[in-house]
Symmetry: D3
Subunit: 157 residues, 6 copies
């Protein structure tokens, strides 16, 4: 196994992907914003007007996908050609799922990861006035398609 993010002397570099082909690629990541019952009630009752808290998070997540190359020093500048962020209320928090698509030279795993994370941060920002214990967990890659390595899906554990 070669670890392509490091040059001969062990220094960080941006991996050269000029020889890779522009093909359709996608990646899906997910994460969880863990909320107290009080926050969940507020989200459920609309005393934290649900639509907008969710709209802020969703829009921040999509914009976050586009910020990936700015946030991660070694990420490539590539086209972001599609992005969705979905939010779902569960029993102990809000599940965030993001899918990013591109027709460019490298995968969009980190773009999907970033979309989930920024959406989750935005949600924390919306409810931190209700409970500062709100936290983010289980942020992980779910699956990817496209590219030379083909489809990949997270193993159940």
């Amino acid at each position: 196994m070669t670890f392509t993010h490091l040059d001969a002397a062990g220094h960080a570099r941006m991996v050269d992907v000029t020889e890779k082909s522009p093909t359709v690629r996608s990646a899906t990541a997910s994460g969880m914003v863990h909320c107290s019952p009080a926050v969940l009630d507020a989200l459920r009752d609309g005393s934290v007007p649900k639509g907008d808290a969710f709209a802020v998070a969703r829009i921040a997540g999509i914009a976050g996908a586009k910020k990936c190359a700015e946030l991660l020093p070694l990420a490539h500048v590539i086209g972001v050609h599609g992005a969705t962020v979905d939010l779902a209320l569960e029993t102990d928090g809000v599940r965030v799922t993001a899918t990013v698509r591109t027709a460019d030279r490298t995968g969009v795993e980190m773009e999907a990861f970033t979309a989930v994370t920024v959406a989750a941060l935005a949600l924390v920002d919306m409810v931190k006035g209700l409970d500062k214990h709100t936290w983010i967990g289980e942020v992980r890659l779910e699956e990817k398609t496209g590219g030379k390595s083909g489809p990949w899906r997270r193993a159940e554990r």
Copy 2:
């Protein structure tokens, strides 16, 4: 309890903090990048040259603190007057801890949260070539000081 992020009609707005005083405020957040034994070995043996993977994450995290107002739609533009990001190898991953300080009109909880999250994303980006199952968990606010509400510390659970 009033939820100050929403206007009369339930729409998102940036809370007015012009009447708050510029005082010294700090916030500490932490999180965990969960790694497989193979990734931890690589980090420990230096076959993923430790210094740099950690340098990339640390620097990305500090820069991330400064991106908070750009990532979170309702966050204020404030001065960022100090920031540290610490990384520690633990038995099942890398613990990320960030402290942000300001002498401005509002708290820096979200800046600390963002620093942890972006450092964690950068670390995932560094090792995803070794294991795509690397994930981020337990991102939470640890403590804050300053401001009218005074010091706060996460409750043990």
Copy 3:
């Protein structure tokens, strides 16, 4: 009258405001997104799901206020300490009104102007699939408060 944005030789420069005092200042701007009856119907019926089109515009506008110093070469980097964007359906379009507040050394007229404009652009982006003739008009400063020059209000014409 001296025109402070230009140096001795007529070249652009950022006016020095270091001697101005940090006091509370606000500015309100407004504008109009002119829509065809079909677009207005869609907005009214919810076949362009109203909440979200408006949420996107509102959030883009608030984020836009924070981008002012990046968009306008001679604008100062100042704190943005409060921002609201309101949208109202009128008979021939959507009225956008933004108020920005700061406790910093210079006024926020351009921040309010930018918030209105970016919210309007976002709205155009949301409905351009329905009608490419949607246009933006009447973007103007309504009033400002604070600073040495004191309150100002647009003259009726």
Copy 4:
């Protein structure tokens, strides 16, 4: 007519354009900065040194075209492969016209719109010291070429 910016549940998403072809596309937008006679005189006499006020606006507009995906939450990150901003003194203000070109997977209407708008904002910023009543109007798409839908031109009204 399907409104492609919204998912099944009415939530904002970035439309997937991965299946569209990278072809040459262009868009032209225009707008008007309405100025008082005093401002127009200053622009005409060079007491607001014409070249530079116009240079600031022109350069801000070109840079603005490149900021489109950052300002509009649902806009795609695409290549910006050509941009011009033209300014013309008319009897009651300054006409701003911008053309943006790309060889990418989606149209550049919003990039042209953004270029016009940011150039106009920059012009307002340059002359607001002379007259705070300066306003922006008639910002609209003039024409577009390229893409599957082919050429489009604004209807006279």
Copy 5:
């Protein structure tokens, strides 16, 4: 002498300046864009229309001062309250001089350095079609004022 940019373990951190006072501070830096006789002639004759090449560089430099905290990982986010960029034709190139001013908690040496550098890069970009050998040299801090350490001026050598 203590080197404040590094924590106990030798890792990068953003120095805490919360205890420093907001006072008026300024810094001036300069640099040289070395041009071939052909490029200088073009600048002098206006066959590279002088005004605009210089306008682009000047405006890019001012905007560059505002990008300092984004470009330099450990730079603080502070107010930028005044900025000028001057350009002068000399016998073997163009001298760039920038002064930045703030009324904030830390000095603006790096903001002045960044303004000079970005203006110089923009000038290279403008003339690289005429001569790819154009180069940048002698970028240095000239003087600073304000802050606890008081005025400083470059020693003649």
Copy 6:
């Protein structure tokens, strides 16, 4: 020789490259951060812990390459598909060399120039506490490959 960055009336514009082909292109630039013996000793002895000062500069330089289109008003938004920044201690300073690669429609000379410059600025920022006389010189294009004009290499002088 035509100077393509200016339109008929001598105004700045972004050159249209839509007709150019996406091919692999690279550019290498270099520069020198001139340090006093005291700074060099600190770098050599590790009293400015070498790894990190260099890590900050290297990472800032790579991130800087991606900021090129944002810093230079007339630069195109293109893919950045590979980037390295190398630093070497020499007798009177630190040599910075950057190579940027793309598979897009225009060359990356300015991206390489920007990477060198931002890495150099970051290094100055790291050591300015030791010596404010640290300066940047000899920033120049070394070579480029790809594109219609083919390979180019700096002439010895």
